[in-house]
């Protein structure tokens, strides 16, 4: 079909911001959990900042989503309705008033957001207790961390899968959006932890090096999945795909894409990391890499969503 005959949800910038924050929250939570599991004492600052970042980033998430709804007071319908219909799709599970639709990433995402928020709250609470001189609950933190990490990765990735399950030519033709969004979540989540640590000062070098290596890995995955996404879209050969890709690569959004997402968001931070790899990166360089990664992470999500919605 000519893409012109398809409709767009016309999701506003609010949704891009939500996808960005959800990615940061999920990525930061997973990194904090890994640091906590491997050496809770040594990486205390990473764990602390990571869980705080996860909670703070996820707090605005439901608000952004609810504000965007046509009828915000019906936000709860994402999870439950008083009298559900019986035939609501092939992947639908109904438990009393609650429903989960496995084939609808938005439905699964709503539940994941709820579950992740609970984990992020508990983890941050435990960190706070410990910081206040309490003993904390290491066992509980480990369980919450592991469970929350599954939902955290889900939260970072599902917006990409959600876009892939629309009829928009750019989204539906490539299979790598979820993988790409997950990598962006990890890189921006790590970058946010690094930025806070770098700006906070104090004992941080020990903690910064592994985070920056994690960010570098995520950036590489981000680059690879982006290339795969563009290649699979190109090779799908479906109608109107040339035009949709052109908007991204050489048209309306090309400058933002190449300069913002690729150069500033991928190439420069990776190059800076490589250059600093042999010796210890200065705090300034680390902060710069983190900021570029964050900006690039937002821009790549924004530009893909925008290009997919106009074509």
């Amino acid at each position: 079909m000519e893409p012109g005959l398809l409709k767009s949800a016309q999701w506003p910038l609010l949704i891009d911001v939500y996808f960005f924050l959800g990615g940061i929250a999920g990525g930061a939570f997973v990194i904090a959990t890994i640091a906590n599991l491997l050496d809770a004492e040594r990486y205390k600052s990473v764990v602390r900042v990571g869980y705080y970042v996860a909670l703070l980033a996820v707090i605005p998430a439901p608000i952004l989503l609810i504000v965007d709804l046509g009828i915000p007071t019906r936000f709860l319908h994402m999870l439950m309705v008083a009298k559900p219909s019986t035939e609501i799709g092939a992947g639908a599970l109904i438990f009393g008033p609650f429903h989960l639709k496995l084939l609808s990433p938005m439905s699964a995402g709503a539940w994941a957001l709820l579950a992740f928020s609970a984990c992020a709250f508990l983890a941050a609470l435990d960190v706070l207790l410990e910081q206040r001189g309490g003993r904390g609950f290491p066992g509980l933190r480990m369980v919450v961390g592991l469970v929350g990490s599954v939902f955290g990765f889900f939260l970072a990735a599902y917006p990409g899968v959600l876009l892939g399950a629309t009829a928009r030519p750019l989204f539906v033709s490539g299979h790598w959006l979820g993988a790409l969004f997950l990598a962006v979540g990890a890189s921006t989540g790590g970058a946010m932890i690094a930025l806070v640590l770098a700006l906070a000062g104090g004992d941080r070098r020990d903690a910064l090096a592994p985070i920056m290596r994690t960010v570098a890995t995520a950036l590489v995955v981000q680059a690879v999945t982006l290339i795969f996404f563009i290649l699979t879209v190109k090779m799908s050969g479906s109608l109107g795909i040339g035009r949709a890709l052109a908007v991204l690569l050489s048209g309306q959004y090309s400058v933002t894409f190449w300069l913002g997402a690729v150069l500033a968001g991928l190439i420069v931070p990776l190059a800076l990391q490589l250059a600093a790899g042999a010796r210890r990166a200065s705090v300034g360089i680390t902060a710069l890499v983190a900021i570029l990664t964050l900006v690039g992470g937002f821009v790549i999500k924004y530009v893909l969503i925008a290009a997919g919605q106009v074509t």
Binding site: L69, P72, V81, F181, T217
Partner: protein, 257 residues
């Protein structure tokens, strides 16, 4: 489930009078809209929240006669596998006992996912009510044996409504008839229950390639992507996760050397 109801639109009989469009607006009490200049008699360019029926006008360049006119009364296809229904996170979109697809206006919360998930661009967002809307096959009428308003109003029987199996047989007969008369391009779109989207409950007889009518050759259920996309996401999660474990394990040995 009761016997599946369907709509059969025969493009070869359409005269472009738009009685269906008007009848639809009247029965469903859809507000008037500012007309749009689309370059032909077609108004509007696309389905809107206030136009569930839309007569489309297409011009096809032809060597013999210069240009061939195509008129098609377009409508929600009520797909057997519906992208909007699968996408809906609230369960507002449901399948009725007649096999049609409806949006429960009391449940829809206006997330607009269905709007982008429809492979035909049918579902529209109504900014006044804050909900998604589309053709219901006149749900209130068909539950009282009246048939949809559009089919009732059609003066040429281009739009027919009835049991799906009976209509399909009728449609196949009509294709044979047209082929015999020399219309070699005559074909059915969406009639085959084993075809794309499990068959459309509003299917069409068209006299040219689907692309002439702006119809996709092989519409796909967008949700078919979910499984593969999820697997790739898990792969990405493993790559990133292992990278992080390695990074935190190596304890900056490089720097300490």
């Amino acid at each position: 489930m009761a016997r599946t109801l369907a709509m059969f639109t025969d493009v070869s009989l359409c005269i472009g009078c738009r009685a269906c469009q008007v009848a639809c607006k009247q029965w469903n009490q859809l507000a008037p809209e500012e007309p749009e200049w689309t370059g032909s008699y077609q108004n509007h360019e696309h389905f809107t929240d206030k136009s569930y029926r839309l007569v489309r006008f297409f011009e096809e360049p032809d060597d013999k006669v210069g240009v061939r006119w195509h008129m098609m009364s377009d409508v929600c296809k009520h797909c057997a596998q519906a992208g909007c229904l699968e996408a809906c996170p609230t369960g507002a979109i449901y399948r009725t006992e007649f096999g049609t697809v409806n949006i429960n206006q009391d449940i829809c919360n206006g997330c607009r996912y269905c709007v982008s998930a429809c492979p035909f661009g049918v579902v529209a967002f109504n900014h006044d009510t804050g909900t998604a809307t589309k053709c219901t096959f006149c749900n209130d009428r068909i539950h009282n044996g009246l048939g949809p308003a559009c089919a009732k109003a059609c003066p040429t029987q281009s739009i027919r409504f009835g049991y799906r199996d009976e209509l399909a047989a009728l449609a196949r007969k009509r294709v044979d008839e047209l082929q015999k008369q020399g219309h070699k391009d005559a074909q059915l779109y969406g009639e085959d229950p084993n075809g794309p989207l499990g068959g459309l409950n509003a299917f069409f007889l068209i006299t040219g390639k689907p692309s002439i009518y702006g119809l996709p050759e092989r519409p796909r259920l967008p949700q078919h992507n979910v499984f593969v996309d999820s697997l790739l996401s898990i792969g990405s999660a493993l790559a990133v996760g292992i990278g992080a474990v390695v990074a935190f394990r190596s304890r900056g040995s490089k720097e300490e050397r």
